[in-house]
């Protein structure tokens, strides 16, 4: 797996995400642009008022997958610093659940990389949310991550 720049940040946290501090960190003087994605808790789901959300993760794999996304960003786009932080546990309406910031010398790469990061995170990072309503709770509809259909033949398990 590709090595990540040491000043990237990939974290799972249980406290509120300090977006300003992360943005200051990602926004380096030799860049000209930073794109931020702030994903936060919506007050309703399919027109049903939401009380709060509870997030859980397969933490070791989620972090590995988040770092993998970072490695892909650096490979695909001319960007500088990346920060991907996801919060777990109980989150109230309006609280930030996921924060992604990408800095780059020019805006196009930052926009593209940030979009790729959130889209890929939602498809491949093992995190789940349970939605709580007045009259019960449900696991949110999600996406099934792409997995290999079959093991390559005659390949010894490693």
């Amino acid at each position: 797996m590709a090595k990540l720049p040491h000043d990237d940040i990939y974290q799972l946290v249980r406290e509120p995400i300090d977006m300003a501090a992360l943005a200051r960190h990602v926004r380096a003087p030799d860049d000209g642009a930073m794109v931020i994605f702030d994903g936060f808790v919506r007050n309703q789901s399919h027109n049903r008022p939401t009380l709060y959300l509870d997030y859980e993760a397969y933490e070791s794999m989620a972090l590995a997958k988040m770092r993998e996304i970072g490695a892909q960003l650096h490979e695909k786009y001319r960007i500088h610093r990346v920060s991907v932080v996801h919060r777990l546990g109980r989150l109230e309406i309006g609280e930030t659940s996921v924060f992604i910031a990408v800095s780059a010398p020019h805006r196009a790469a930052a926009f593209d990389a940030c979009r790729f990061a959130i889209d890929t995170l939602k498809r491949t990072v093992p995190i789940w949310k349970k939605e709580y309503f007045e009259d019960g709770a449900v696991w949110a509809d999600g996406e099934l991550p792409p997995a290999p259909a079959a093991t390559p033949r005659a390949k010894p398990a490693s």
């Binding site: 997030y55 397969y58 491949t124 995190i127 696991w139 997995a147 290999p148 093991t151």
Partner: protein
């Protein structure tokens, strides 16, 4: 020189009883998440095999214990040691397998 002492004297097999060169026990850690965790009632489980199972075997075993689980087979992906894995992946001792429902982070 000290003689080795059996660590588990309560074991039914005597320390010096001839032990055939049995196939090694394969111990696998199994993790369930989201609704699968609620359904099986345990987030983490350790299980032993004498013959190497595949991930499919492992799932079938838990589905036999928790019939509800079988319904989710087509909407579950598996991972082996934190990598998404095919259902026919053979397992080795020490592997960590997780059964993951559709992800909904973000």
């Amino acid at each position: 020189m000290l003689k080795p002492v059996p660590l588990a004297p309560s074991s039914s097999a005597g320390y010096n009883s001839p032990v055939p060169p049995v196939s090694q026990t394969i111990r696998v850690t199994v993790l369930f998440f989201g609704r699968l965790k609620e359904l099986t009632g345990h987030p983490e489980h350790s299980i032993e095999f004498t013959d190497a199972p595949t991930i499919e075997h492992l799932f079938a075993l838990y589905a036999a214990r928790h019939p509800e689980l079988a319904k989710y087979r087509s909407s579950v992906v598996a991972s082996r040691n934190q990598e998404f894995a095919a259902w026919d992946t053979p397992l080795r001792s020490g592997d960590e397998v997780a059964f993951l429902p559709p992800v909904s982070g973000g």
